[in-house]
């Protein structure tokens, strides 16, 4: 392992996340808990002092701890078809049998807030949770952004629902949203997002001080602690460490030879192991589409319209032409030599257009592209032998 020195701030982030889960389970006894989707406007809840928990993040945690398959099987035994999203199956398995789940499951929710900007799956997942727990569900419906910028009636629709959500949260928790508190939270969120953008930009250095699997670990706070001081602190520290690496010319992959771009959600149960052969061949993943999803800046002056724009414009909710522009732009700015795409059985919005993206990157930028068929948490869909063979052939083709 000493061959690839780990970033000390990643360990700190992992500790923050461990503390986050531990504290949430204690605080859940005296503060309302809302389960939220990864693209939900958490700033409103954070500002109201409502505790938020992310079943998707928990799904990733189950994947990383290799607990997901057993949990998926529990969900499947109660009727959930095995071809449904594995985050949902893992989490529902944990809901059904918390004793067999990491952290003994998540604390019970008092409220559910489901935002449809990332997929349609979450709507069904949260309906299942509402059935199981018998708690109120708010569906924040975000239309697909088929044009950029989005049409005014779409922004107005989302902003109206954000106001409705605020009133709904107040009615169910008795907590009020104070404008100055929302401002503060939005500022923290803005700062965390802006630090996160800077961190991602470090991949442009040669050698890059950070590799995609590092970012997959580092992203947790920008998802789950957005709007808090802790997220800002985590990223200040990481940024400083990356600056030091750049100053000393230290790369995440010593002797960096190839610079690659990753597409789609991580393969959580093979987080570092999947990337090891790439690292051994001197290939560093300097950019990715996944962690880029949390880089949309928030407007602090017009909070509701600002949040409506930000949460409608998340990467996965954009039309293909716009996403292609973003990916091609990443490839150019980060000077990548090739692209690896994870055809993720669990995530249709991310995966369904990958062949088109592959063809466009090959044709327009002349980049070699490898598509790996797997799943973000269901390890049963990972064919070790086939993946190794294809990765080896791809690395060889890079010359």
């Amino acid at each position: 392992m000493s061959k690839y020195p780990r970033l000390a701030s990643l360990k700190a982030i992992s500790q923050v996340m461990t503390r986050y889960y531990a504290q949430r389970s204690v605080m859940a006894r005296f503060r309302p808990v809302a389960y939220v989707t990864s693209g939900a406007p958490v700033e409103i809840m954070e500002a109201m002092g409502i505790l938020t928990l992310y079943p998707e993040n928990y799904g990733a945690l189950c994947g990383a701890q290799r607990a997901a398959v057993a949990l998926c099987e529990i969900a499947e035994s109660t009727g959930y078809p095995a071809d449904l999203c594995s985050y949902a199956r893992s989490h529902l398995g944990a809901v059904l049998q918390p004793k067999r789940a990491p952290l003994r499951g998540l604390p019970r929710p008092d409220l559910l807030v489901c935002c449809t900007n990332i997929c349609g799956t979450v709507l069904k997942w949260y309906e299942a949770l509402a059935d199981f727990y018998g708690v109120p569900l708010f569906v924040l419906d975000v239309p697909f952004q088929r044009a950029t910028p989005p049409e005014p009636h779409i922004v107005a629709y989302v902003a109206d629902q954000l106001r409705e959500l605020t009133a709904w949260l107040q009615a169910h928790t008795g907590r009020r949203l104070k404008p100055e508190r929302l401002q503060k939270t939005l500022q923290y969120a803005r700062e965390a997002v802006s630090l996160w953008q800077e961190i991602l930009a470090f991949g442009q250095h040669r050698p890059s001080p950070i590799n995609a699997p590092d970012l997959f670990v580092a992203m947790a706070p920008v998802v789950t602690l957005r709007g808090t001081r802790r997220a800002v602190e985590c990223y200040r520290r990481l940024k400083a460490e990356l600056e030091a690496r750049v100053a000393q010319g230290i790369g995440a992959v010593p002797g960096e030879r190839y610079r690659l771009l990753w597409d789609n959600i991580a393969i959580w149960y093979r987080l570092y192991r999947f990337f090891r052969p790439f690292m051994d061949a001197g290939a560093c993943f300097v950019a990715d589409t996944y962690t880029n999803a949390w880089t949309v800046a928030l407007d602090v002056d017009e909070p509701f319209t600002g949040m409506a724009l930000a949460y409608t414009g998340v990467f996965i909710n954009l039309d293909l032409a716009t996403r292609l522009r973003i990916i091609a732009d990443l490839a150019r700015r980060f000077q990548v030599d090739g692209v690896v795409m994870h055809a993720n059985r669990s995530c249709k919005p991310f995966s369904i257009t990958q062949y088109e993206i592959r063809d466009a990157l090959r044709e327009e930028l002349g980049l070699p592209v490898l598509i790996i068929e797997a799943d973000m948490t269901d390890a049963r869909l990972y064919n070790e032998g086939a993946v190794q063979e294809r990765v080896a052939a791809f690395l060889e083709s890079l010359g």
């Binding site: 959930y80 299942a128 009636h153 369904i352 257009t353």
Partner: protein, 335 residues
Amino acid sequence: MGHQRALIGFLTACVPEELLHAAGFDPVFIFPRPDECGRGRVHLPGFVCWIVTSALDQALGGELDQLAGLVLAKTCDATQGLADLWRRNVPHIPLFHFGMPSRLDGPAVKSYLAAELRDLRKRIQAHTGHPITDDELRESISWCNRQRALVREAYTHIATCSPPDFYATLRTMFKSRRLILPQPSPLPDAPRLILVGSALGDVVLFEILEQVGARVVGDLFDLGERYFEADAAEDGDPLEAIAQRLCTLLPTPTKYHSTKSRVQRLLELVRTRQAAGVIFARQKFCEPHGFDYVRLARALSQVGVPHLLLELEQTSQAGQLRTRVEAFMEVIGRV
């Protein structure tokens, strides 16, 4: 009217047919074809359902070239992905995206949906070069309402029709906008079933049900009974009337409504139609119906109604399906 009208395709159960008709088109549904969909597969990962894959496949094979356009409403993730793929790969058939909300209640939805309908109207007008007047919209609403009334009338005879005949009637209606009622062929002691699934299920399944001597007495298909249950108002603002109808229908599994419950509807159907069992005809890889199955099946089990889950694919194995349906009929016979 009716002979020279151009056809416009649609693929989901929440497209404003009235608006398309008022623009001078006959809206026709693109049903999947039972083949390997090889041309579509080249562009799609293997975990996308047959309905979406087949639509793309037919388009790439030139089989949809008679269409003046395709209208896709936001429903599931696979359909949304198809909108992206369509624009790049089928540029000669214009795509009209309709941002149908995922949530059908709440104070914000009405004005959004009306605005989205106005937007679609503008985009279609810009494409055809002809304005769509409010009077034309009202006439088309009335045309759609008349068809819906005929289909509702047809549904009152469903239990006395053979399943393949009955659903062939609906498919023909969606393909040619003509309704030819099937001849009744009553089977007094036949097991009475309710079917649940996306679009209109699968012809192979209907044939198997006919072979085992079962009758369908109701359905929860996205394009089935629920699709015809409400009319749009023929007076007042026509776009608002269309919006109102779309929000009134029992939601499909891709849509959320805080009080309109699919569980309640299914239980009510079973009770009022005196059904002996329910068959879920789910397209493999369909997430909305996959999750929905669990809630519906649980509710059925709680009241002791037998149910069976079948997974449909482009090359559904008729033999296997038949064995499972036969086994299910034995279960029903014992209850």
